[in-house]
Subunit: 180 residues, 2 copies
């Protein structure tokens, strides 16, 4: 149950409307926690009902009208509590690895092209992360909050580096495999 906390974090960084949040979940936040607009609207309703956020007083709510939210003290407290809590890492669930394991049984027909496609996607993502790093985190120390955010971005960079490396290796293996 992390979506409400992802939204609280986003709103603390900057009060936003549902659609603005959706946009931000397609970028920075979405790099490690994705969500659709339906998830976000539903969760905003719950958070408001629970008294963790409220609509900005300046704007009057109406259907089809923009409605921005900000975090209340109770919301900040809940986020701090959740952040400091001990949590177990979730077991991995990766379709591509599963498909490779299946391919060992039913044959590799068609999967090599998709490995190439994934490699390309991960290379693009890696390039994007590196560009963000160059732009937002110039060499030098910076504020503690920036160092934490840089650390998170570093995880993204290292993960994409892993995938591109592993996929490259996988494709080499395929080129040595007997043809189907």
């Amino acid at each position: 149950m992390s979506l409400p906390h992802a939204i609280l974090t986003a709103l603390l960084e900057k009060p936003s409307s549902g659609l603005e949040l959706t946009r931000r979940f397609d970028k920075s936040i979405g790099y490690f926690w994705s969500a659709t607009h339906q998830q976000i609207y539903r969760e905003l309703g719950k958070l408001e009902a629970d008294g963790l956020i409220r609509t900005l007083p300046s704007e009057q709510p109406a259907r089809g009208q923009k409605k921005s939210y900000e975090v209340l003290p109770a919301g900040r407290a809940e986020l701090a509590r959740w952040t400091g809590e001990s949590q177990d890492p979730k077991p991995l669930r990766d379709t591509l690895l599963l498909r490779l394991r299946a391919a060992a049984v039913v044959g590799t027909e068609g999967i090599e092209a998709d490995l190439r496609r994934h490699l390309d996607l991960h290379r693009r993502q890696l390039a994007e992360y590196r560009e963000i790093e160059r732009r937002d985190f110039p060499p030098g120390k910076g504020e503690p909050e920036d160092r934490l955010r840089h650390l998170v971005l570093r995880a993204g960079i290292d993960l994409e580096t892993f995938w591109t490396g592993w996929l490259t290796h996988a494709l080499e293996e395929f080129s040595e495999l007997p043809p189907a």
Copy 2:
């Protein structure tokens, strides 16, 4: 929708009962696709209803009695189709990275201890994978199926290597951060 295909793969590798599958999902298969026994029993029912698997003829089904399944030709065909299909990689969803991002806003209270705990867990997992590699994949070429399975295990090893490296780096950063 990958659980049925994970089960088909497991059953092709070896016909099994629900509980045996559950055990195997706690080990090898579960390293990249986890599932609880309730998910497995429900899915076995669906797969049987869809004519993709059947109970072994030798055993008569009864509540509380062991009931083993094997894959039918239609099941193998469906697995081959799914394996060769083009699929997009799922966006990352990682709670630890989210918590770090939240910590940049609400403070790092309590999170450092959990980073240490995660580092320890990932080190153990890495050691386990390396032991499996040593035991099951001795140097030398081997059969194509084995090379594919080795490739999958390699992904696990490289992923755990990434996490241990990144967590070590993260803890170094924390030691340089001003105390809360």
